[in-house]
């Protein structure tokens, strides 16, 4: 049987979220943006997140190129090591790798680095494996005729690689590299767990001060999405500028 409330729209005032005139939740974003200390923390967090990710991606890209080349050239031992490394990193969570790099390795080898250096090392190791997999498939997709033509022209191996193979590989895998980089950027929030004061760390700090968890994490989410979109735009501009010779559909 349906019970009718004596008041019209009575449920508006008598539901579990709005009891007796005092709402149980309200959004208080102003507690974040009116406090200059919090804003400063967020800005520093954004800077550290971006700089660590970009640095790790650049170093990781060079490592990835080495890994992919070793595997593609079938150098006896290095190829197997490269394959095992890539498979291992790709099949374990980033956070376990980071904890091992930040807490396990220093204890084992007896060194002390600042937090960001651990994060940089961990992210580089992680990124290099993901990029290596993409570069390898790019190397495999180069038509044999290109290499044969370069040999026929009498180009030396390193010239052949730098002038013929490498530009084509980069141009063909650039879109995949871009989206992989953005996906990896979205996972870098876990470096806050090893003490790096990145964007997520700033958010957790503000949360512990204000207890406005929902508002601060919504803010963080929007910031992450905004940074990811900015990266995407920059990458697209780079694509248009450097690979303008590429034939596009």
């Amino acid at each position: 049987m349906i019970k009718f409330s004596p008041y019209p729209l009575g449920w508006l005032k008598n539901n579990r979220f709005y009891r007796g005139g005092a709402r149980l939740f309200d959004f208080r974003f102003f507690e974040i943006y009116r406090n200059s200390e919090y804003l400063l923390r967020l800005a520093e967090g954004i800077w550290l997140s971006i700089s660590l990710t970009v640095t790790a991606a650049l170093i990781g890209f060079f490592c990835a190129a080495m890994l992919a080349l070793a595997r593609n050239a079938r150098i006896p031992v290095l190829a197997q090591i490269s394959a095992a490394y890539v498979e291992f990193i790709r099949n374990t969570p980033l956070i376990v790798q980071l904890f091992f790099v930040a807490f396990g390795l220093p204890l084992l080898l007896g060194y002390q680095w600042p937090f960001w250096a651990h994060a940089l090392l961990g992210l580089t190791l992680n990124f290099s494996a993901y990029f290596a997999e993409i570069l390898r498939s790019g190397l495999q997709s180069i038509p044999k005729g290109q290499i044969e033509a370069a040999i026929a022209l009498g180009l030396k191996p390193h010239v052949r690689f730098i002038k013929v193979i490498f530009p084509q590989v980069i141009a063909s895998v650039y879109p995949s590299l871009t989206s992989q980089f953005i996906f990896l950027f979205l996972t870098t929030g876990v470096i806050s767990e090893i003490g790096v004061e990145d964007l997520t760390h700033a958010g957790v700090f503000i949360d512990s001060r204000t207890f406005r968890s929902f508002e601060i994490f919504i803010t963080l989410t929007l910031l992450y999405v905004a940074i990811a979109l900015t990266f995407k735009t920059c990458m697209h501009a780079i694509d248009r500028y450097f690979f303008s010779w590429k034939v596009r559909q």
């Binding site: 969570p93 956070i95 091992f100 997520t200 989410t221």
Partner: protein, 235 residues
């Protein structure tokens, strides 16, 4: 079971190994729930995406875009800390972890399946319509059997990402392999230093994920895949 581990591995290591393997089951349960739940929601989103009706297409496109661009960590923080504090009541970590991983999985799976269905030539749809079949019969009898072949490899590949994603659930207090392992690594017990525990945990995760990756590659070679480029995956 615990005694067996202790008999084989000795006192601290046997207990540690037993607890790690014991906690792994919750990682597996969470992954399974997220995969099944994400699959169900993903199916609905895919259906909305291919329905061709403007409102539904717009809704599903924005849903996929939204949950693909939001970091999983933020989803976990929002569902595990944000919403409980907003509503002023405790939420079980199981529920928060399940909800956020399900949302995460649903967006990715919907995107994978949409790609697979779009890879089927338009002529297949038109052929079905021209013999008088309607949307659902065409989808069931003609499109899905073809799309399922090419969607199998990326779907299995994505399950690896879900398993890796569950490792983040420890930040909201979910008791899984990551949580137990971290506790042991911080414990001042000889033989459970972090350079022993974390590789052990990595090995357990690896033994869960690696067979699935190989299975995905096997399917890709046998049945093919719709995507031309290399597989993009998140850490």
């Amino acid at each position: 079971m615990k005694e067996l581990f202790i008999d084989i591995l000795g006192k601290p290591m046997g207990i540690v190994m037993f607890q790690l393997v014991d906690a792994t089951q919750y990682t597996i349960y969470l992954s399974l729930i997220a995969f099944v739940g994400g699959g169900l929601i993903g199916m609905a989103i895919t259906l909305a995406r291919i329905s061709g009706q403007k409102g539904w297409v717009r809704f599903s496109t924005s849903y996929i875009w939204c949950f693909q661009s939001v970091p999983l960590l933020m989803l976990l923080f929002l569902s595990g800390l944000g919403v409980p504090r907003l509503l002023g009541q405790d939420v079980n970590p199981w529920i928060s972890a399940t909800v956020s991983l399900t949302l995460y999985a649903s967006a990715y799976l919907a995107e994978v399946w949409r790609g697979a269905i779009h890879a089927i030539p338009q002529g297949q749809w038109e052929g079905g319509y021209s013999v008088g079949m309607r949307f659902f019969p065409v989808l069931r009898a003609i499109i899905l059997p073809q799309a399922m072949r090419v969607a199998l490899a990326p779907t299995v590949g994505f399950s690896v990402q879900i398993i890796k994603g569950t490792s983040l659930a420890y930040i909201i207090g979910f008791q899984d392999l990551m949580n137990i392992g971290k506790r042991w690594a911080n414990a001042p017990v000889d033989g459970t230093e972090s350079f022993i525990i974390y590789p052990l945990m990595a090995l357990i995760y690896f033994s869960l994920c690696f067979p699935l990756s190989r299975l995905a590659i096997h399917f890709e070679r046998k049945l093919g895949t719709y995507s031309k480029g290399p597989q993009i995956s998140a850490a």
